[in-house]
């Protein structure tokens, strides 16, 4: 057996998988059964893993061995995170890697399909100081007009965002502190938004999505967006955009009783699909609450409901992405590729693919089981030999 390293091994892929799985080199080395120095050499490109080691590595990190030989797709634009804290460096790297995988998936599927045309308002600000509150309100209004959402409540913001050509991913990340991130992809010619599903709160998730759309619309051309002071301002602006998009001044303000009680806010929450906290902030932004009134409401909110949750948080099922899922369904239904070949074509494991495309767990095996289930309609008794393919239909025993 040859001891030479695998040809075409891409060191960037190793770095990406370490981030995506939140593993250190030392941890990975122990799991693969090699020295940390060896992993370090793989990662720097001075040495490639041998065939056996690559198989072991691939099996541990749950990708196809061949995936390590795929050229790394171009980097996304610098993602904007909800938290820039140094404590979350590893978490941000993990989320960036997951987002790059989403880009890989979307790019691989784009060989066969056209996604909806990108339909976002365009702004060319290079510094956040240029962006006024009025400009944010205008941009949010324009977004609603482009997406044909009218001026009332938005039924499904995820559907609208995907219809506007945004690639949307919503998955459990294990990092509840970072609710979402967004970046632009040159390969796709469109942006990607990744939302954390960890809090499982439909209201917050909608706001997170609106917040990320705000970044995409307002901050595409901002220079040095991660600088501390700048980042804070960008976050405030994205928040204001989210409020304006979900709760447009001209219609929302009509329905508000000034001063509202917390119970008034709960009624508005159900109708408009935004948390009582987000509504309070929006009322403040619109000048319908002054600073003192806002603080008083937040105080009452804490006293009655605690700091983190609100009544009715479970009322709304989080909106789910559809576009990538529908794309896979389309390719399978149109016989472009069989279901079981999709993970292989993309190179990721079925479970990663299911998570990133919003498919239910076990989907790639589940759908083929469904085909097997159709055999139950067959009146002919099952032959033993036919069971070799997978599921076995056990006949009822005779009562005689």
């Amino acid at each position: 057996m040859s001891r030479a390293g695998v040809q075409g091994f891409q060191k960037e892929r190793l770095g990406q998988i370490l981030s995506a799985r939140r593993l250190s080199q030392v941890q990975l080395a122990a799991m693969v059964g090699v020295s940390p120095a060896t992993v370090s050499k793989w990662r720097s490109g001075t040495q490639a893993p041998e065939h056996e080691a690559l198989n072991r590595l691939a099996s541990i990190v749950n990708v196809a061995p061949e995936w390590f030989t795929r050229p790394n797709t171009p980097k996304l634009s610098l993602p904007l995170f909800r938290s820039n804290a140094s404590a979350h460096v590893a978490a941000r790297e993990m989320l960036t890697a997951r987002m790059e995988w989403a880009q890989d998936i979307a790019a691989a599927l784009m060989e066969f399909v056209d996604y909806p045309k990108l339909n976002l308002p365009t702004r060319h600000h290079t510094a956040p100081e240029e962006i006024t509150s009025e400009e944010i309100e205008r941009a949010a209004r324009e977004c609603r007009e482009l997406w044909r959402l009218g001026s009332s409540t938005i039924q499904d913001l995820a559907l609208a965002a995907e219809g506007a050509g945004i690639i949307l991913v919503r998955e459990e990340t294990g990092i509840a502190q970072i609710e979402g991130l967004s970046a632009w992809s040159d390969v796709l010619g469109r942006p990607i938004i990744l939302l954390s599903a960890d809090k499982d709160n439909g209201y917050r998730s909608r706001f997170d999505l609106a917040h990320e759309v705000g970044h995409l619309v307002l901050h595409k051309f901002i220079e040095h967006p991660t600088e501390s002071m700048r980042h804070k301002l960008l976050e405030e602006q994205a928040h204001r955009f989210a409020g304006a998009l979900l709760l447009p001044a001209e219609t929302f303000a009509r329905e508000v009783r000034v001063l509202p009680t917390l119970d008034d806010l709960l009624v508005l929450k159900r109708r408009w699909g935004a948390s009582a906290a987000a509504i309070t902030m929006r009322l403040h932004a619109l000048g319908l609450l002054d600073d003192e009134q806002k603080i008083a409401l937040f105080k009452r909110r804490s006293v009655r409901w605690g700091a983190k949750s609100e009544p009715g948080d479970d009322d709304r099922i989080p909106e789910q992405p559809r576009l990538l899922r529908r794309t896979i369904d389309l390719l399978v239904d149109e016989n472009v590729m069989p279901l079981e070949s999709v993970p292989k074509h993309i190179g990721l494991s079925a479970s990663d693919l299911e998570m990133l495309t919003g498919l239910p767990a076990g989907y790639f095996s589940g759908r083929s089981n469904l085909v097997q289930f159709a055999r139950l309609r067959d009146r002919t008794p099952p032959q033993k030999s036919s069971a070799s393919g997978g599921n076995v239909v056990v006949p009822f025993s005779s009562r005689s």
């Binding site: 060989e111 399909v113 056209d114 339909n119 959402l149 559907l159 576009l323 529908r326 794309t327």
Partner: protein
């Protein structure tokens, strides 16, 4: 009959949302001014004074609103009715008690104006010998409804209604509070469009047939 030919839809298409909101504000302000102006009058005739002043103050604010919103108001003259125009609709107003609208027919001018609504009656009750054709004129009233007692909400209307009478000014072909009606301008979001659908690339199927591959 076209799809948008219903009375509320005709109103929505012809009268701008901004004008509806402006009338709402105008009536609130007019009512407040009237009540304020009547303060100090003798209790014995205070309700009548407030009623009279409401007429004049609401006329003034209504006129101002029509003027600002390019609705061609008729000039203020004596106690005459102020009218405006928005699309096919002639706009006018009157005040009434919240419970019983007995003041509507008191005005000869209003009765005359209501005759135009024969054109839109078929939208509610189709006629055999008078087939519906798209109307070129109709009349709608903004009705400021007051409580009928100065001990209840004396300085503002209890509600403001948009009311379309029949030709005899005896029945209402359509009646709705402005608060409810304003939501009709948001109908475009009633059914959200679903654009989040991928499409197979053009000629993709043909490429497969020709080459036997999908690359």
């Amino acid at each position: 009959m076209r799809q948008h030919d219903s009375i509320p839809e005709l109103l929505r298409v012809n009268i701008a949302r901004e004008l509806i909101l402006a009338v709402e504000d105008a009536f609130a302000v007019g009512a407040r001014r009237a009540y304020s102006a009547a303060q100090g009058m003798d209790e014995g005739h205070l309700p009548h004074v407030v009623g009279q002043l409401r007429h004049f103050h609401l006329n003034e604010t209504f006129h101002q609103t029509l003027s600002t919103n390019h609705a061609s108001p008729s000039p203020i003259k004596g106690s005459g009715i102020i009218t405006g125009r928005a699309g096919i609709f002639t706009l006018a107003r009157f005040n009434s008690r919240d419970t019983l609208w007995n003041s509507a027919r008191r005005s000869q001018t209003r009765r005359q104006m209501a005759l135009a609504n024969r054109a839109i009656e078929p939208l509610v009750q189709p006629e055999l010998f008078f087939p519906y054709t798209p109307p070129t004129g109709a009349v709608v009233f903004f009705v400021a409804c007051f409580a009928g007692s100065l001990s209840i909400q004396p300085d503002s209307p209890v509600s403001i209604q948009l009311a379309v009478p029949d030709r005899h000014l005896q029945k209402w072909l359509f009646r709705e509070s402005l608060e409810t009606f304003i939501q009709r301008y948001d109908v475009s979001s009633a059914m959200q469009d679903d654009f989040a659908r991928p499409k197979l690339k053009k000629n993709f199927g043909k490429q497969i047939d020709k080459d036997g591959t999908t690359s």
